[in-house]
Point group: C2
Chain length 94, copies 2
Amino acid sequence: MMINHVHIRVKPESVDAFKAASKENARNSVLEPGIAAFDVFQQTDDPTRFLLIEIYREPEAQARHRETAHYAAWRDAVADMMAEPRSSVKYAAI
Amino acid sequence: MMINHVHIRVKPESVDAFKAASKENARNSVLEPGIAAFDVFQQTDDPTRFLLIEIYREPEAQARHRETAHYAAWRDAVADMMAEPRSSVKYAAI
């Protein structure tokens, strides 16, 4: 298992569009055999901040995810919604 | 559902003791009826950084968690292991 957290801050006017695009991407991503979970969270005290929690069954599954059509569609759709570059942190369950 | 993320950085010499105390706390916490999940993660590129992901069935469940003996034992055990004050962020699933 490899857990990847992606922290994203979007422009205020893009909150709703980002939620819609990210729900669609998550819906398709959980169908990938290498993905155990793919969830989208919105920060309670700042609705422009989101967290994607991606749980991969093995590290290579992340590379395969990035080759899918739904990932490309999400990446292109949200590119102009970002208020700052997104950042990611990897974790191991203990 | 209320998701609480607790970010913790421990002293390098406290990593193993923190993992042990936090696993014990998580093992007891998931038995609380108001807690849907309670997981401990260690950051891959910095083993002194941890993330607790606590999923409460309702907001009041967090207050009840803080009244348990296992929470008090964990809080007291790890107090001197912290390298800096811990921080938390609340999320809603979308």
